[in-house]
Symmetry: C2
């Protein structure tokens, strides 16, 4: 039953399984783009490999190709012009179904071994993928490398570890022997086979084309399901490179490369056809509430794992480190220009101000000081462009432009020139104040670098408002700053009721918008922002079934 | 964190966790109603305790009681007249929500300990519950004791074991320490709390009011969810006794007894109101396709675990033990007069007959021989009444009466007089033959003692038809009789594709309609007859979430 790739990567797998249960810091994929780790020529090789993709057809050898399309536009303003094959939805589904029996028969160890080999090769190609992520999503280089490369690989490995933890508990066979008093026992041989639920569809997003795709991709794949990766139309290349690597590994192992395919569509109806195909049994989706809700309403034949919009929020009740708090929040609001599903949108501050180590600070003072902290942090254009990246979509640019309508501007957005990419759309955050009653302003997701300092009656009102926001509009992250045990306790209880992860008094090098694989449960799956978590048992256990057979033995 | 009830039952729990992973035979609840096991007075005490419930109000101390109702009619024709409290759906949901925080705070060990104590007391009350099951469902005494008592308790314990296996992997806390090169590491303390998804609704069925209720009840309860048990209107007493015992244990532990409540409704709209209440996050349902589909379509706020109708089938291709095969099938078709969700409805036999150890048997010969085997098995009225039990519903009686319309009768149903219960509605099975083309006859569930011997072209056609029946109409069980390895292999592959449990060449004391806890996965959750299995990781993992909090530590 053992498989060479399983044996090759077993140490990594064992450590990953220990990590998901221990939940300390761990990773096999170094996050520093260092030549010592990735090799002296890795950076240069990766850049060249990325550039070699541009302006060409990206051949994948997939079935049912009816044409080629090239929809990506770089937020950095460079020409990409990669042409991708467009396959009919029916051809992709049919090919996936045909690949499924062999993928089942290779067994849990074989599937896990193949997944780990794919992840290992993705890691070695981190520079190439980082360029693809940066140039399609608009992320800054360091984030593109880390979140697009090793951190995404961590999330993929975490899903494989959970899948293995669950699958390895199912024995291949058992003898069942029931005593019958003085008569001979009843004795049966039983076999248990792990069977994937069916074709899996993984729908990526435009901002994190690998980080948000790998959990679903590897969870579905490891548990026996062929996967169709439907990339976001503006972030195809990172997914295409991933799929190509997966197909190479599959083919080398004598498996059907169509176990993993890339879906690039030139009309929305094709995505809908894929999502509602009766053979598609699971859908992983990161994106808008509108399409997410459409999937939940229409793709009723599938289990849908959806990460949607939310209104992440932070309560500031008091602090014993005012400067560090402001610095921490300034970084959170600036990173990737707020284009993270975890970025704080609403900062809830008592109308009467807060107690700090620097004395009492009024509401307006807190707002002005946070604005100043952001301004100072982004004063140097080189830092600013590195941290902010570029704005991924026209819609976000439009939201920045109209943000002044939603509140009083305490910090306006600036356009920053990028030294290397003159056409890059780089913007600093806009910071607004408003009253808690102005719910239409801050209580829907305004994706991008748009945040509100919301004036609330007092700390208790802030905690209550945070809970209501999470319950009604969802959130992936909330934070609190307070020096009072009873306030922290109330906030903790509120997050347990509403179901959201809480960061308390972050003043150092960890930020509320960051989520570490193997340790942090990204999303909780209990509020409207997400119906599943990366990764836990629930994220993998429902993707396979156990089919048994039994017969008498002597 | 440890809890006295957890410690009290830890040996049982450990053995149960070992059993769900090893899947050999195991149980802590003896299935023989023996005085040596259950005590010299247990049988008598149980009968008296049951009788003491009759003709009285069944007080539970629940909130929102608006009246009393007494809808049960015994298939054995005795007067029950137990009057149950009718609570408003809103009052039950509100009470469940109020009970939830304390149920979370008692922790996984506390919840599991309480569940194990409830199961232990249910086991000690097996006689009383068996009488309640027998007199409401119509089961024969031995089945009512075994399936209604120890086997149902096994299924409850199995669910608790799975819940514990999943929850115990989540650490209460962890220290996350990330190296920062020459700088001090980033260090965070993290806490992980298991939180139930919300109020659970468990909707029981009229035929197995404990066996089909305990998996959902205990899976939901152990994972942190308050449970409302909505009993079938004709099988309330077994659920009411169960709920009362649960409430007693909860109250003794200083927990809110409304963590478990009984819903008895006098109008269907109340069940619908419960099922669609926004606070209800999971529903376990066993019953008809019509109401099951209504739940899936309308209770969209909840995860629905549904066991619905199916068309269980057996392929007879050849056998090396003709007599034992007929005896085995005769028992399956007779047990509880076919009123099991696992009873075989369609027996697929080649038109040209089958090879057996007694020579070639033609299609009509097989049908006649099976009819004779049933007739012989049920010839003695004492055996017949013990095995058949009574017919649970008027609808099943009507189906038996009209069965002749669906095919050629090879064995007519007989009414059997019950020596002890003169008004009992006891019926023997009706056996029909029909052609594979007569799909409208055999290809929908005809619940009760109505089975078809279906004439198919040959063995390959039988395997293909079995697969199509499972895919299109669902099945909890299929069987095959064949002496040929290639036929068994084809059937195995068909069941792996369609997702159904297979029993091969059953000729002894195990029957296709039986499913043993800890070893057999009841249902697979992959075909239309059920979307979940009792019990596996998927049955429990999605019933809770992990909510974390984190903060810097030095």
């Amino acid at each position: 039953m053992s498989h060479p790739l399983f044996e090759k990567h077993q140490a990594t797998l064992d450590a990953a399984v220990a990590a998901i249960h221990g939940r300390g810091y761990w990773t096999p994929y170094p996050e520093m783009p260092s030549p010592k780790v990735y090799g002296e020529t890795a950076a240069d090789d990766g850049k060249k490999a990325f550039e070699a993709c541009l302006g060409k057809e990206f051949e994948l050898g997939q079935p049912g190709v009816t044409g080629w399309t090239s929809p990506e536009r770089s937020p950095y303003g460079i020409a990409l012009d990669v042409r991708y094959p467009v396959s009919t939805p029916a051809a992709l589904v049919e090919a996936a179904q045909a690949a499924m029996p062999a993928w089942r028969k290779v067994g849990a160890q074989g599937r896990v071994g193949v997944c780990l080999e794919i992840l290992d090769r993705l890691n070695k190609r981190s520079f190439e993928i980082a360029h693809a992520v940066m140039m399609t999503s608009g992320q800054g280089w360091m984030m593109a490398f880390q979140a697009g490369g090793p951190h995404a690989q961590d999330r993929g490995l975490e899903a494989v570890a959970w899948a293995w933890a669950e699958m390895s508990k199912v024995p291949a066979e058992a003898v069942w022997e029931k005593p019958q008093g003085k008569n001979p026992p009843l004795k049966m041989q039983k076999h248990y086979e792990i069977v994937g639920r069916g074709v899996a569809l993984v729908i990526g997003c435009g901002t994190f084309p690998t980080w948000n795709t790998y959990p679903g991709l590897f969870a579905a794949l490891a548990t026996g399901n062929p996967v169709i990766v439907k990339a976001h139309s503006n972030a195809i290349l990172p997914a295409a490179l991933t799929v190509r690597i997966a197909r190479e590994v599959l083919a080398e192992q004598g498996l059907d490369p169509n176990t993993v395919t890339l879906a690039v569509v030139d009309k929305r109806a094709d995505t809908q056809a894929l999502a509602t195909d009766p053979a598609v049994k699971s859908i992983d989706f990161t994106g808008s509430n509108v399409f997410g809700q459409w999937l939940l309403d229409n793709a009723r034949q599938a289990q849908v794992y959806a990460e949607l919009a939310g209104v992440n929020n932070v309560v500031i009740e008091s602090t014993d480190n005012y400067k560090a708090m402001l610095r921490n929040l300034a970084f959170t609001l600036s990173l990737y220009a707020g284009q993270m599903c975890t970025t704080t949108q609403a900062i809830l501050v008592p109308a009467g101000g807060i107690d700090t180590d620097q004395g009492r600070k009024g509401f307006d003072e807190v707002a002005a000081d946070l604005a100043a902290a952001i301004d100072k942090f982004l004063a140097d254009p080189a830092t600013a462009t590195a941290v902010l990246g570029a704005i991924q979509s026209e819609a976000t640019l439009a939201r920045i432009d109209e943000a002044g309508e939603y509140g009083k501007v305490v910090l306006a957005s600036r356009k920053v020139e990028h030294a290397e990419f003159p056409k890059a759309e780089v913007r600093t955050p806009v910071l607004l104040t408003c009253d808690a009653a102005d719910e239409k302003s801050y209580m829907e997701e305004r994706f991008g670098p748009i945040s509100f300092i919301v004036k609330v009656a007092d700390g208790a009102a802030a905690v209550a408002l945070s809970e209501r926001i999470v319950r009604e509009h969802g959130a992936l992250t909330v934070g609190i700053y307070s020096t009072k045990a009873e306030v922290l306790e109330a906030m903790t209880e509120a997050t347990l009721r509403a179901g959201v992860a809480l960061s308390i008094n972050l003043t150092g090098g960890v930020f509320v918008n960051q989520s570490a694989a193997f340790s942090d449960y990204h999303g909780v799956g209990m509020n409207p922002a997400a119906n599943a978590s990366y990764s836990d048992a629930a994220f993998v256990a429902n993707r396979f079934r156990v089919v048994q057979r039994r017969y008498h033995v002597a």
